[in-house]
């Protein structure tokens, strides 16, 4: 083994240990804020694996989109909904966990068998390496042009949909006095998130 391949192997082992431990932590840790930060670690180690696979552009996109946008979005959502609540106990929860664990282990065994018994066409053509970014650009503007443009439409639709779904109802007049009011103020005052609600707690 050369020094380069040994280094690659060490990088792969470290990244895969980080990946597996981080993903288990995301699923198993009781505190969801820790889970969100571990999810960022998982995304970063996946980006490192992309670098090992000669895909520098996708690794950069992974860091920008997942770590920079999705993970921050998840952290914001956690901060917005982070109310201490005790989840009601469910009968048979442990049995459910064990059964779904068995199903997932079966799925894992199936995937393992598929990946080890399939006769892959190895070795394939030599990877393009550093020219990967150029090839991706050629693909995006020739044979994948329609999906590329549709992706922009999809992002626009998702953006508008997220705004419409997450927007609070705004009253143009005060509900109590009936006067027209500043919408910024009324939105802050009437939101259910910030109101202390003794009435709701009595009913529920």
């Amino acid at each position: 083994m050369t020094i380069a391949s040994t280094t690659e192997l060490i990088c792969f082992l470290v990244l895969s240990v980080t990946l597996v431990a981080g993903s288990l932590g995301v699923v198993l840790l009781p505190n969801i804020v820790y889970s969100a930060f571990l999810l960022g670690g998982v995304f970063l180690s996946v980006a490192g694996l992309y670098l090992l696979l000669n895909a520098s552009f996708v690794a950069a996109a992974q860091v920008l989109v997942y770590v920079g946008a999705v993970n921050v979005l998840i952290l914001f959502a956690i901060m917005l909904v982070n109310k201490k609540e005790t989840m009601a106990a469910i009968p048979g929860l442990l049995l459910r966990r064990v059964l779904s664990g068995a199903v997932c282990a079966g799925l894992f065994a199936l995937l393992l068998r598929a990946s080890f018994t399939t006769d892959w066409a190895l070795p394939g053509p030599t990877p393009v390496g550093e020219e990967a970014t150029i090839r991706i650009g050629e693909h995006l503007f020739s044979d994948y042009l329609l999906p590329f443009e549709l992706a922009s439409v999809l992002l626009l639709m998702a953006m508008i949909g997220a705004i419409v779904l997450a927007r609070r109802d705004v009253f143009s007049s005060d509900v109590i006095t009936g006067e027209p009011v500043d919408q910024g103020l009324i939105e802050k005052a009437r939101t259910p998130l910030l109101l202390e609600k003794p009435a709701l707690e009595k009913t529920s």
Binding site: Y50, L80, P127, A166
Partner: protein, 114 residues
């Protein structure tokens, strides 16, 4: 040298199957978390884990089997785009649900069940 002794299958570089096994572990963890999480935000995180596993598979196949055309990398970019849109819409739905139900417990989101 020591590494080569410990891992005999890795003597000619990292095999394709190593990436496939890693992606399988990630995907199964994501499926388990998706089924068993009671916090709705954690369900979304599990979906992201599964999408990353699929992307890892695409990149591994693109590097090992399709090294000249790298169609897997292009496809992974589209998956990343769709995942970003899904995360945005999913979290917006989650916020709206939280305003209506005052909880993030998945067991209590049964408005449409009966």
């Amino acid at each position: 040298m020591i590494l080569a002794l410990v891992l005999p299958g890795f003597s000619n570089g990292i095999p394709l199957q190593a990436y496939l096994v890693l992606a399988a572990v990630l995907f199964c963890t994501g499926v388990w978390g998706l089924i068993n999480s009671r916090n709705a935000v954690r369900v979304l995180m599990s979906i992201e884990l599964m999408l990353n596993a699929v992307n890892l598979n695409l990149m591994a196949f693109s590097n090992y089997l399709d090294g000249q055309l790298i169609r897997g990398q292009v496809f992974a970019i589209f998956v990343i785009t769709v995942a970003a849109a899904e995360a945005a819409v999913g979290l917006a739905i989650l916020l709206s649900l939280y305003r209506n139900r005052e909880t993030v417990d998945m067991e209590r989101f049964n408005l449409l069940r009966w």
